[in-house]
Each structure stands twice: as C-alpha cells, then as structure tokens.
C-alpha cells in the first residue's frame, strides 16, 4: 500500500435541479482493487466520468500523482494513464486485435503502420495477461470474454496506471469470469490501481481490497474488505429515511385483472405473477434484471417463447402492441424521448395518436373532437404548454411524460404499465404524477410500476415484485417492504 495515486477531494457535480455528486472525497492507491458500490442513481457513473475527464466537476479537486488536475478531458486522462472499460466496448470489430490495441496510437512512421511491431508488442501484453490470443485475429471473431481482454490490453498498452472497470462481468460466462479475476489479480500485483464497479457481492468480496459505499451522490464510507460483510454494505447503501410524502395507499384491492404464468423468452425466465384490480404493483431490481424486458414481453413488443397471459380470467394472445391495446393495456416506456412521444409532432398529435379510432368515423378524423381531446387532457393533467400545437420536444421532461400519459389515458385503458415514471423529472412534477397514479387506481384501474428509486417504489406500491437476472426472486408487501429487504432480494 502506498500514497494515494488518485485523490478526489470534495467533488460535486450539479445539474439543474439535481445533485449528481455531493462533496465526494476518496483516495485510490497503487496496487489495490478498490470497489465502489451503490444503488442505481447513487452517482457511481458520474464519479467515474469525472475521473476519466468526460465530465468536469462543478467543484472540488482531483489530484493525480501529486499533481492537481484541471481542465481534464478524456484524451488527456488517457495520456496520463487513466483508462476505463465499460459494458459497451470501444473496439472496432472489423480490425485485428493488434490494430485495436494500438488504435489511435499506431506504431510506425508518418505514413506506414508497423504491423510487425504492433503484433509483437501485442503478443507481449497478452501473454503478460496470461492469455493466448493471436494478435492478427479479427476482434469480431472473438468471444465477448476475449474482446474484453483486448480492451484491457489496450489500456495496458497505453500505460494505464488506473483502470476503471464498470460491471465487467455482465456479459461473461462463468469460465470467462474466472479468467477475468486472474487478470485483475495479476494487474494488481503489477501495481495498477483498479476501480471496480459492480452490483455483484460475490465479485466484490472476491476481488476487492477496499470498498467505498456511495448513496444519493454522497460518499458514505470506505471499508477494508476483511472488516465488512454484505449486510453491512446493504444497510449503508440504503440507509436513508424515506422522506418524501406519497399519497395514501389503497385500502382494498379487487380481483385478478392480469395473470402472467410461466412467461419466458431469451431475456426473462419463467415469470408468474398476478395483478389485482385497483393496485399499484411495483417491480424492483437492478439494471439488467429484466424488468423492462418483462413488461415489453407482456405488452407484445418482444415475442414470448413460453407461458401464457390471462386478462380477467380469459387466455389472451398478445403478439403486437396493437393486441395489448385491444385488451385495454397501455405502456409508458422507460425512454420517453425515443419510444414514448413523437418529439417533432405537437401535443395534439401525440395525445390523440393511440386513440385515432375513437375520434374518427369511417377513417376520417374529426378535427374538433381531436382538439377537445387534447385540451381536455392538457387541463386534466395540468400539462404546461403554450398550447396543443406546441411541439413536444419543446416541453420539459415532466410535461413530456404527462403527454405520453395523456396518450394512454385517452385510450381508456384499464391496465397501465409505467417504466420509470418519474425519471429525469423535477420534484413538483413527480408529485403530480404520483397523485395521478393514485387517482387512476382509485377509479379501479391497475398499475404496474417499474422503478429504480427505492423511496418511490416503496411509497407508491401496494406490493413489490423483485427481479434478478431475468427471474423473479420474490414478492414483498406491507411491513416487509423495506429497502434492505428489497435490495437483498435484488442482489442475492
């Protein structure tokens, strides 16, 4: 253990209305594996981006090798030896391993590339990592595990001293994971600083020397691996009071309105659950747990390979969103800009888009009915817009979300699926959306809500399903609905 190679002091990053990082101070030492853990939205990615220079902190300082870093940018950071490996690899599939390792820093003269030298050096680095890959192989022909190793080799060839790895084992098979552990151990022994981000406790306890917990953009604590255990980490990760006020919950819920039995497809595994009339059913899980994939399968966006759906006791086949809408379902997608709204079109166009059959006779649109539909919902949902002819892209996030919601309410659907309903929305608009959701179930509609915000999930849901890696790990209700319990079920 030595002096900190990389020292973050009081790093803060503010976005309008959001404190992504709030006074974070961490030391990273040479020759250690330092893990950072925290829930979705704790600030891990933002922190990494300030270290690699992709984002400039609003305040605070970064000292690297004893020198204060200012005006960091990714190119500079790379030169200084700070490298990062993300889940989406930065490789060029059609080029060779050696070409990728030296991409942007090719060896040779001004015009010619010295392939022989590149291949030789690549072989050196690869054997250093204990890997047997021909430098002349094309990256696209390699398995994901080997591609990741090429990424690591690329970092090493650039003389990386700090290597950041963001959820590296997500795409790997178990044998590839073992190989990765060996490489991480090797690199550590060679003096590299490895900043490791993962949700998987097995890995964290297998690899780390020290573990830092973050929560809500704040630094919480750094612990030695030997001195802590999973439950302590979990309680540090969630240890907040619930704070915000949520509308009172349902006093009673009705009969089953949607039953999912044994639903499977390449992304989700044998899911079964029931949605009752008048309830808000939350779905919790980490990124990649399959929540969005589950609702997309139910809504007919992605195909199902096994399982059945019943609506009010009747078996139904949903192969396309058209079918789902026919059964009075609606889906407010996670990415409202790409999938929810037609940004270039106006509010009126968007609100009426899924209910054109209701405002048309024999295929001809009633312009007056359409205008009334729009103005009615603008009023009902308090959508802040200069008018129904305003392009949706000009509205704020919260109001865009309300437009998408209005579109579905206009279809008179009974079952609404919200995927991250208040992501990127300010506090005021959030409260409005919560109130709207409670009103809807008060009218005996039923809601499925995916959320990564624990307080919201617990505050709004009557019951919560927890998913992990494509399967359902359990269900909690009433007193059991605590952040610790849910997070534990999402990660065990």
């Amino acid at each position: 253990m030595g002096e900190p190679l990389l020292a973050l002091r009081d790093i803060s990053k503010y976005y309008p209305g959001v404190k992504a990082l709030d006074g974070v101070s961490i030391d990273f030492r040479p020759g250690e594996v330092h893990s950072i853990v925290g829930e979705n939205g704790a600030g891990k990615s933002t922190l990494i981006k300030t270290i690699t220079g992709a984002i400039e902190p609003t305040s605070g300082s970064i000292r690297y090798n004893g020198v204060e870093m200012s005006g960091m940018n990714p190119i500079y950071a790379l030169k200084e030896g700070i490298s990062a490996i993300y889940q989406e690899f930065n490789l060029i599939p059609s080029l060779t391993v050696a070409e990728n390792i030296f991409y942007g820093r090719e060896l040779g003269g001004r015009f010619m590339i010295d392939r022989r030298e590149m291949n030789a050096r690549s072989s050196q680095i690869l054997s250093q990592l204990g890997v047997n890959v021909r430098p002349q192989s094309l990256v696209k022909d390699l398995s994901v595990g080997f591609q990741q190793i090429v990424e690591i080799a690329k970092a090493i060839s650039g003389n990386a001293k700090v290597l950041i790895m963001d959820e590296p084992t997500a795409p790997l098979t178990s044998s590839e994971v073992e190989k990765l552990y060996e490489i991480v151990d090797k690199l550590k022994r060679q003096g590299m600083t490895i900043i490791y981000i993962s949700h998987k406790f097995e890995e964290i306890f297998r690899l780390s020397d020290r573990i830092t917990v973050m929560r809500d953009g704040k630094y919480i604590r750094t612990l030695q691996r030997e001195d802590t255990n999973r439950s302590e980490l979990v309680s540090l990760m969630v240890g907040r009071a619930l704070g915000q006020h949520y509308p009172p919950k349902a006093s009673r819920t009705g009969a089953a309105v949607l039953e999912v039995k044994g639903l499977s497809n390449p992304q989700v595994n044998d899911i079964s659950f029931t949605l009752k009339e008048g309830e808000i059913l939350g779905i919790a899980g980490l990124v990649g747990a399959g929540r969005t994939e589950l609702v997309r399968a139910i809504f007919g966006v992605d195909p199902i390979s096994a399982g059945e759906l019943l609506i009010r006791g009747k078996r139904v086949k949903i192969r396309h969103p058209m079918d789902a809408i026919g059964y009075k379902m609606g889906l407010i997608p996670e990415d409202r800009k790409q999938h929810g709204a037609l940004l270039n079109m106006d509010v009126k166009f968007n609100i009426s888009y899924a209910s054109l059959d209701k405002i048309a006779s024999f295929g001809f649109l009633h312009k007056k009915k359409e205008k009334n539909l729009a103005t009615d919902y603008i009023a009902a949902l308090a959508i802040k817009t200069p008018g129904e002819l305003q392009a949706v892209k000009n509205l704020s996030g919260g109001n865009q979300q309300k437009v998408v919601l209005a579109k579905w309410l206009a279809t008179q659907c009974d079952i609404l699926i919200f995927d991250e309903p208040t992501r990127g929305i300010d506090v005021g608009a959030k409260q409005e959306i919560y109130a709207l959701m409670r009103n809807l179930v008060g009218e005996n509609k039923s809601i499925i809500m995916i959320s990564s915000e624990m307080p919201e999930l617990i505050g709004m849901s009557d019951r919560v399903l927890v998913m992990k890696e494509g399967s359902l790990t359990g269900e909690v209700a009433g007193d059991e609905m605590t952040q610790e319990r849910i997070l534990t079920m999402a990660t065990e």
């Binding site: 809504f299 966006v301 396309h320 969103p321 058209m322 789902a324 809408i325 889906l331 997608p333 790409q338 999938h339 929810g340 709204a341 037609l342 940004l343 270039n344 079109m345 166009f349 888009y353 899924a354 054109l356 059959d357 048309a360 295929g363 001809f364 649109l365 000009n394 579109k407």
Partner: protein
Amino acid sequence: MPIRAILVKYGIYIVLLLLVFFFSVASDAFLSVDNLLNILRQVSIVGIVAVGMTFVILTAGIDLSIGSIIGVSAVLAAKLMLFGVHPALAFVLTLVAGIVIGLVNTYFIHEIQIPALIVTLATLTALRGIAYIITGGLPVYGLPEGYSFIGQGYVMGIPVPVILMLACFAVGYFVLEKTRFGRYVYGVGSNEEASRLSGVNVRKIKYIAYCLSGFLSALAGLVLLSRVNSGQPTAGTGYELDVIIGVVLGGVSMNGGEGRISGVITGILIMGVLTNGMILLNISEYYQLVVKGAVLLLAVSLDYVSKKRRVKVAHT
C-alpha cells in the same frame, strides 16, 4: 408575424410567385393560358408520381424504382393491347402490376430490413431490364385509337393528364390531412418505434405507401404511353430525380414525418415554371440542368439553416 417567420413558412410560394413574375416580364409568350396549361401538362407525369413519392418519403422511406415502373407499365400496357386485350382491362392490369411491384419493394424493405435506397435501386435496375425484355428492346407501336384520349385528350378545355394530376393531388391532400391513415403515415416517419409501441400497424402503413407509389407510377406510365402513342422501354428513365427534387423542394423532409402536399404541388410547379421559362428564353438544356441543381441546393440550404436557427432560439 415577423418577416423571417413569413419567409420560412411561405417561402416556396413566394419563390413560385417570383418566378412567374420574372418570366412573365422576361418573355411575352409566358403568361398565356395556352402556355400555362402547357406547363401543367408537362409536369403532370412527374406530378402524379410525386404524390406517391410523398407518402413514401413521409414514412422515412424512398422509392427510386418509380422511373422503371413507369417504363414497365408503358410497355406492358402496350403489349397487352397489341395482343388484343381491351384497353380498359389492360389499364387495370397494369395498375395492378404497379401495386405488385410495391408489394415486392416493401417486402424487402420491411420484412428483410434492407434499406429502401438499396432495395428500390435493385428493383429500378431489374424492372428496366424487364421492360427491355418485354419489348425485345424495340418500341411498341400500333395502339388502339381510343387510347390516345388519356394522354392527349381534353375535358372542358383542360388536358386529361392535368385533370388526373390534380385529382391525385386532391386525394393525396385529403388522405394525408384528414384520415387516420394519413396521420399514421406522418407518425411512422416521425418515430417508427414509438408508433409501434402506440399500437400502430407499421407494417401495413409501409405496404400501403409503397403500393401507392407503385400504383401511381403505373398510372403515370399509362398516361405517358398515351402521350407519345408508343410503348418505349426507356420511358421514365431518370424521372426519379425530377420527382424527388419536386418533393424535397416542396418541404418534405428526407427523414420522414414532415411536409405537406400543398408544398409538393408548389415544388413541382416551381420546377415546371423554371423549365418552361428557360425554354422560352432559349436557354440551353445544359444550363437548365445547372439551374435546376442550384435551385434545389439553395432551397434546401435555406430550409436547413433556418431550422438550425429556430432550434438555437428554442434552446436559449
């Protein structure tokens, strides 16, 4: 409304008026009923096809095969009539052929997911070859007398092709502005995935758009056949360029989801007036091409630049 906004919104109409004004002054022969009808007749083939192309481009697609569909339709109808098929039946069969070509185009574009540019480039090539095969490379003569009415006849003093073109524009306007289907065309072009998630049958919309393009191209081919009174296998060559220029000039965005029929009519007329005016002023054909290209570039640049300014303002 501020001057800039007026220019942006009514720009092409102003350009058309300016051109008409300019040529009326520059040439005595321009502003006569005969000449104006001439212009309309000259653009009618391209105009009919432009309606179909508008639907396709609105869905964020493109149909480069229209010129070859015109050619195949002309020679197919000619050969059928030569073999004794009644002109009305030949007419209908040819229109059906146009629809079938549209089906083929859409199949490869939507089901196999090959970019529309490539698919219609391929059909453009193959269909031209088929046109040559049908005729053995030679023009087809000897059409029945009655058939010349479609391309050369008049109804109440107005050439039939012009009536057909105006009818196509009217129906196109009506469908795009006032029907559910028209709404979905705009929606699919604006955001195909969001449309699918909103329950729109994207597949159906695309099939209809390309089949409409095929149908109208076949109609244009039938009109052309009647005008020149012979089935030329080269008929329609290069027309896709004129059609696309007219459509883009009219404000239809290649990205889909944006543009109106009223703009397309104006775009087509601008090109027609420009061509006619330059002929009357004895400007050589070569210069005409340069002018056409320059007009397109200028018009689209103005549109894009003004859009960027609008976006900047919206964000401040």
